[in-house]
Amino acid sequence: MSRFKTLQEMFKRYRRPGDFFFAMVFLMFGLFLLANIPDQTVFVKRTKLFAQPAFWPILSIGLMTVFAALHAISSFVSPRLDGRWQEVTFWLRSLEYVIWFMVYVAIVPLAGYLFSTILFTVTITYRLGYRGRQAWMAATGSAVVIVILFKSFLQVKVPGGEIYELLPTALRSFMLTYF
C-alpha cells in the first residue's frame, strides 16, 4: 500500500479543470490510431525496418499512446479542481467562431476579398457587443487596411469575387488586381 502511495505521489501534478477529460480523449485518439495501423500503413518487402513507410507512424503513435496513458494516470491521481464541464463548454463555445470563420472563407470567392472582409469584421464586431460609430469605423477601417496591405500592396493570392463579373470591364480588372 505504501509503495502504491509513493507511486501515486510521483505522478501527482498541478492540473486545470478539464485536464482529465482532455487526457482521456487524447488517449482514446491514440488507441484509435493504434488500432488502425494495420489498415493505414504498409510494410514493403525487401526494405529495412528503419526505411519502412510504417516505421515512423508506428513509433510516433506508440509513443503518443504511452505518454497519453501516463498523462491520463497523472491527471487521475492529481488533485481535482471543480469546473470540468464549465471548461468543456468554454471549448465548445469557440466552435461558434469556427463557423464564423468558415462562412468568411466561403463568401470570399463570391463577394470578393474587400467586401467579404468588411462584412465579416463589421458583423462579428456587432456580434461581440461593440456598438456605436467608433466600433463600426474601427471594424471597417481595419478591414480596408488589411485588404489594401495584403492584396493591393503585397499581392497575396486571394481570388477575385464572382460578384466582380457584374462590373464594367475596366473596373472589373482593377478590382480583380487590387481587391
Binding site: E9, K12, R13, Y14, R15, R16, G18, D19, F22, F26, G30, L33, N36, Q40, T41, V42, V44, T47, F50, A51, P53, A54, W56, P57, S60, L63, M64, F67, A68, L70, H71, S74, S78, P79, E87, W91, S94, Y97, V98, W100, F101, M102, Y104, V105, V108, P109, T117, F120, L128, G129, Y130, S142, A143, I146, F150, L154, V156, K157, V158, P159
Partner: protein
C-alpha cells in the same frame, strides 16, 4: 573578412532595409500588445514572405522575433501583464518598480538590458561563426539525426511538470508529419481513403491554427478587457545610465541566453531561470528580488533578448530549428529551395553574416523607436481584447487562404485552432507539436539515409561528433532521472510550484 563585407553588401538594399524597419517596429508593437506575440505574427506573415527573396523574408521575420521581447517588457512593467510569454519574469521586478513610482527607471533598465543582450549575442555569434563553419561540415546524416533527436528529448524534458503531456504532443507532431502520401515508397499513411489527407498536414496550416487562430478564439470567447497603462514621464535615455552599474549581471545573463538559445529545445525560459538565479545568488541585496530589484529585471531581459540570434545557429548550421519560431522560419528556406545546413556555412557565409548584421541594425532601430515612441505605444496597446481577436481572425484568413486558396486548409487550421485553444486553457504546451512535426520529418529522412551505411548499432556512433551527441543525450536523460529522484526524496512536489506563473504558452 571578405564574407563580412559581402554580407554588408547583401543587406545594403532598400527592400532589405524596409523589411527590417517593418519587422522591427512591427515586432515591438506586436510584442507590446498582450495577447499577440511573435508566434502569431510570424505565422500570419509567413505565407506572405514566400513571395520575397529569402533574405528579405527572413529579415522581416527575424525583425519580429528579435524585437517583440523589447515591446513585451512594456506591459509587463506597466500593467503586470507580459506582452509575450518570455516577459513573464520581467513582471516580478518590473511591476513592483512601477508601483513604487519608478516606471521610467524600470523601462529604461529593461530596454538597455534588452539591447545589451541582443547585441552581445550577435557579436558572440559573429565571432563564433568561423568555428561553426569548421564544425558544421562534420555533421552528416547520423549527426543531424542525433541532434534532432536531442532537440525532441530536450523540448519534452524542458516542460517540467508536464513531461507526459509534452511527450504525447511531440509524438503527435511526429505522427502528423507522417500522414499522407509518403514520397519514397509511394504508400499511403493514415489517409483513410480521403483525398484531402493525401498531401498530409502542411506545417503552416498547423502553425496558423495552433498559434494564430487559437489565440483569436481564446480572445473572442473570453471576457473583454482593455489595458489602461499610465503614460511614462521624463527622459528614458537619461535613466538608461543606471544600467552601466549592472554590466556583470547583464553579461552573464546574455551569456546564458546565447548558450541556451543554441541548444535546440531549450530557449528563453531556461536562460532566464538560470540568469535570474545567478543574479539573486550573487546579489548584495537578494531579498529585493521579486520586489523591484534592478538586477532581477536586467537578468530577465538580457537573457531573453540574447536568445533569438543564438537560436538561428542550429537552424542555419544544421537545418535544425530549436523552437517554434525558427521552425516556422525553416519553411521560408524550403520554399526557396535554400536548404540550411553545413553547406550554407561553407558556401554562403556572406548570407549568414548578412542575417547577423541585420540583427544588430534591428536592435538599434528598436531602441531608437522605443525611446521616442513609448507613450505612443502605450496608446496603441489599449485595444479591447475581443476586438483584437477579430483582427487576428481576419489576418489568419490571409495567412491560410493565400497558401493555395484551399477551403480544406482553412477548415484544418480552424480545427487546430480549437485544439490550440484547449491546450492553452489547460496550460499544456503547443511548441512540442510543431517541433515534433519539423524534427520528425528531419529524423525520418536522416535515419533512412544514415542507416544505409550502418551495419551494427555501434557503427551509428563511431564518428566523434555522433558519439559526443549520443553521450550528451544519455547525460541529459540521466540528469533528468537524477533530478526527479532527488525532488521526490525531498518531497518537492509539483503542486508546490506556482504553475500559473510558469505559463508554458508561446503567443
Amino acid at each position: 573578412m571578405d564574407a563580412l563585407f559581402s554580407g554588408l553588401d547583401l543587406i545594403a538594399r532598400w527592400d532589405v532595409f524596409l523589411a527590417l524597419m517593418v519587422g522591427s517596429v512591427g515586432g515591438v508593437i506586436i510584442g507590446a500588445i498582450p495577447g499577440v506575440g511573435p508566434a502569431v505574427a510570424i505565422a500570419i506573415l509567413l505565407p506572405t514572405t514566400f513571395a520575397f527573396e529569402p533574405l528579405v523574408g527572413l529579415v522581416m521575420l527575424l525583425g519580429i522575433y528579435g524585437s517583440s521581447m523589447f515591446g513585451g517588457a512594456l506591459p509587463a512593467i506597466l500593467i503586470n501583464t507580459p506582452g509575450t510569454a518570455v516577459n513573464a519574469l520581467t513582471t516580478y521586478d518590473g511591476h513592483p518598480m512601477t508601483k513604487a513610482g519608478d516606471a521610467r527607471r524600470a523601462l529604461a533598465l529593461a530596454y538597455s538590458a534588452s539591447l545589451f543582450g541582443g547585441l552581445l549575442s550577435v557579436l558572440a555569434l559573429i565571432l563564433l561563426s568561423p568555428l561553426l563553419a569548421m564544425i558544421a561540415p562534420h555533421f552528416g546524416s547520423r549527426e543531424i539525426f542525433l541532434a534532432a533527436l536531442m532537440g525532441i528529448i530536450l523540448v519534452v524534458l524542458a516542460h517540467r511538470g508536464q513531461i507526459f503531456a509534452a511527450g504525447m504532443l511531440a509524438a503527435f507532431g511526429i505522427f502528423l508529419n507522417t500522414v499522407g502520401l509518403e514520397p519514397v515508397k509511394y504508400t499511403q499513411r493514415f489517409t483513410f481513403g480521403q483525398d484531402w489527407l493525401q498531401s498530409g498536414f502542411d506545417l503552416i496550416v498547423v502553425v496558423l491554427g495552433l498559434f494564430a487562430l487559437s489565440q483569436a478564439f481564446v480572445l473572442l470567447v473570453q471576457k473583454d478587457e482593455t489595458p489602461h497603462p499610465q503614460p511614462v514621464r521624463g527622459s528614458l535615455l537619461n535613466a538608461m545610465k543606471e544600467f552601466l552599474g549592472h554590466k556583470r549581471v547583464a553579461t552573464v545573463a546574455g551569456g546564458f541566453g546565447v548558450m541556451m538559445g543554441m541548444i535546440p529545445g531549450v530557449g528563453e525560459f531556461t536562460a532566464q531561470f538560470m540568469s535570474y538565479t545567478y543574479a539573486q545568488k550573487t546579489s548584495k541585496n537578494p531579498d529585493a528580488f521579486g520586489k523591484g530589484s534592478p538586477e532581477g529585471l536586467i537578468a530577465s531581459e538580457a537573457a531573453n533578448n540574447a536568445v533569438p540570434a543564438a537560436a538561428m545557429i542550429p537552424l542555419l548550421a544544421l537545418g535544425i530549428p530549436g523552437e517554434a519560431l525558427t521552425a516556422m522560419m525553416l519553411s521560408v528556406f524550403y520554399v526557396h529551395n535554400v536548404i540550411p545546413g553545413p553547406q550554407l556555412f561553407q558556401n554562403h557565409m556572406d548570407f549568414v553574416y548578412a542575417l547577423y548584421i541585420s540583427m544588430i541594425i534591428l536592435n538599434l532601430i528598436v531602441i531608437v523607436f522605443l525611446l521616442s515612441s513609448t507613450n505612443i505605444l502605450i496608446k496603441i496597446i489599449q485595444i479591447p481584447t475581443r476586438f483584437l481577436g477579430v483582427l487576428i481572425l481576419t489576418l489568419s484568413f490571409v495567412g491560410v487562404y493565400s497558401l493555395r486558396n484551399s477551403v480544406v486548409d482553412c477548415a484544418m487550421s480552424a480545427g487546430f485552432g480549437v485544439l490550440g485553444l484547449v491546450l492553452k486553457r489547460l496550460n499544456l504546451p503547443v511548441v512540442p507539436i510543431i517541433l515534433g512535426m519539423v524534427l520528425g520529418g528531419i529524423m525520418e529522412v536522416k535515419l533512412r539515409s544514415s542507416m544505409a551505411r550502418v551495419k551494427s548499432p555501434l557503427d551509428f556512433v563511431d564518428r566523434p561528433i555522433a558519439a559526443i551527441i549520443a553521450v550528451m543525450i544519455l547525460i541529459i536523460i540521466g540528469l533528468h532521472i537524477r533530478t526527479m529522484i532527488i525532488e521526490h526524496r525531498n518531497k518537492l512536489r509539483e503542486d508546490e510550484i506556482s504553475h500559473d506563473v510558469e505559463d508554458s504558452q508561446m503567443r
